[in-house]
Symmetry: C2
Subunit: 377 residues, 2 copies
């Protein structure tokens, strides 16, 4: 591997949880070079990262943050405003775009990169949830490749990828989130953010506790693996060691296990199809791998996501928009936990009927955010 030239990476969302772990993986390897990177608004961390990594170009995707930052930076890295992100991702020099960003802002850049035939290692669920059909079609048409980074999808991808037999059913696991065993009263942001299994960002930690995250993952799996919703099952697995499984016609099942460490799927997506040496081995000498029925009835947001996914069209975009606003409001203590689902449900039910295309996907997501905000007020 070391004799090949390093692969050029565009890292979107470098200051987030995935971005920081990706930098860990990338800077520990000679196989990669970060050519460009983006962050949304955490400019103080972004500055440190830029100084250390010295990418050729960087992009700040929040306009306000860009205005401030543009005047203070120095060094060899050129800093660009939000509208330049697509161009950075699609630059001919880039081999792999790692989408560690969150929300929908990476949708167009990802679509553009896939349309240029690039490999997109994608940890950012929303673009696939909102526009999976369009992204997958673009990748297929232009020779682009979508490699999942989410642990569940990386697991299923690996189980499917190399098997000569077709997958009949896929299973993704859920650790259950912070509140599964807890009572529903007085669920504060602080309580939820103490969720112990995965090291994740705030929004996704709340999404895990509401079941939304798992619902979005099912929609994502539906697109990534071209699998009917009826063949995608969720299992409760509190230990978070089995991330995904695939069932074949003969009843046999291929399962993928790893320590709950996002650097493993990040490394796999970047080094695909190689697996690089890492240090997080599992100890099987006393391991209790319990799998249980996923208690969907306790996770209203999971059910809402599945309904939206099955309806398809613009409903997933509406789901994503309403959820983002509702979760922000919960984190800001503007609404109690239980209202998150109510806001999403109401927003979904009022979603206007329009044609399914990229402009309308983004339009509906924006509409849903505004509609949800009105409900909150």
């Amino acid at each position: 591997m070391s004799e090949r030239p390093p692969k050029n990476i565009c890292l979107m969302g470098s200051t987030g949880s995935i971005g920081r772990q990706a930098i860990d993986v990338i800077t520990g390897s000679r196989n990669f070079r970060i050519v460009s990177m983006s962050a949304h608004s955490n400019t103080s961390l972004f500055t440190k990262q830029i100084k250390k990594i010295k990418p050729e170009t960087a992009c700040i995707t929040n306009s306000e943050a860009f205005k401030k930052y543009g005047r203070t930076t120095a060094g060899p890295t050129k800093i660009f405003p939000p509208e330049k992100l697509s161009a950075l991702c699609s630059d001919k020099k880039i081999d792999i775009v790692l989408a560690g960003s969150s929300g929908s802002s990476a949708l167009i850049p990802i679509l553009d990169a896939l349309s240029k035939g690039k490999t997109v290692a994608i940890a950012n669920k929303e673009p696939i949830v909102m526009a999976g059909d369009i992204l997958c079609a673009a990748a297929k048409k232009h020779g682009g490749k979508i490699l999942p980074v989410d642990s569940e999808h990386s697991a299923v991808f690996q189980c499917i990828e190399n098997s000569k037999a077709p997958a009949e059913k896929i299973y993704i696991t859920a650790s259950g989130g912070a509140i599964l065993g807890a009572g529903r009263k007085k669920i504060s942001p602080e309580f939820i953010l103490a969720h112990p299994v995965w090291k994740m960002g705030k929004k996704i930690t709340v999404d895990s506790s509401t079941g939304m995250n798992k619902g979005l993952e099912v929609i994502e799996a539906h697109h990534l693996f071209a699998m009917d919703f009826s063949k995608i099952k969720v299992l409760l697995h509190p230990k978070a060691l089995i991330h995904g499984m695939v069932e074949f016609a003969d009843g046999s099942v291929s399962a993928y296990l790893s320590a709950p460490d996002m650097r493993i799927p990040i490394s796999y997506a970047l080094n695909y199809p190689q697996k690089m040496k890492m240090r997080n081995f599992m100890d099987f000498s006393n391991m209790n791998l319990t799998l249980e029925k996923y208690p969907a009835e306790k996770f209203i947001c999971f059910k809402l996501a599945l309904e939206a996914g099955k309806k398809g069209g613009l409903y997933p975009a509406s789901l994503v928009g309403a959820n983002e606003t509702a979760v922000s409001a919960f984190l800001a203590k503007r609404i109690p936990f239980a209202r998150i689902a109510h806001i999403i449900k109401k927003t979904l039910s009022e979603t206007p009927d329009m044609r399914y295309n990229i402009p309308n996907v983004l339009r509906i997501e924006k509409w849903a955010k505004e509609y949800a905000e009105k409900l909150i007020k």
Copy 2:
């Protein structure tokens, strides 16, 4: 699949547990035709099988049984004596040899089939344990293919096969056998043969309870996967649902699960690389997949097998011979359970030093049987 001509099968050991289940699989499919079959001494069942299946040729591998049988058979099937088995396996018409036989008698026929470039689906451990190096070299040289049928090896084979990354470590699981939780006093053949997890023959059920079976499997894995003994681990897994796992450099693990039904790996080996529809699906809605340290200290025969495997040369042949005689004596109530290991240990320690080749492998196995028999008397 149904448009291709059926594959021609030579089924060795048709009256044994594997053989009977193989017939289940084969007669339920249009993809196969049993052209020839062999049995050792259960001529009454063999007669029924021949009448139903009507193979072109059949072989009785026990001389005494052949003499009696030769005079009573009828119908279109030609019956041959033991020395003809190799010719049946190597016949140019045969596509796949399924070795469901037990003991060492199939060693030469398997070697001959591999030397003719045939695919050998092998459930019969002893030939690989005794002469793995020679069989694998013959397969490699002549384009033959060894496909494991043992559930553990089929599992590991599939995990390795379906990965582009090399296996760093392999795990095979052990259900623990009949006596793991039981006291050691008064362990009768009847008690052991009530072992509940797998439907197996008597000898292998005893081998499971002594740990010998798992030891033989480790040696088999060493040969089949060209893996150093230090990289082959055994885990205790009482549920017998995870059959094998493979660990990669990044710490991720691929696991193969299926219901404990030998028809699944038999079907896979025959249909390789396809997986045919079967009906034994697992229910993950409440599944406790405990993995534990394998208590090697409780299984003296496991340790003896590993020692013999690591020494290599003719020791595995001596191990196989001594074990076969000791287990027969135990089943005949000539010796108590605990003496099985003593007899094997003593036989191994007295094994003569000779060159490692096929005639000597067979010679040492015979010597070990005789030596063990002397110890029993």
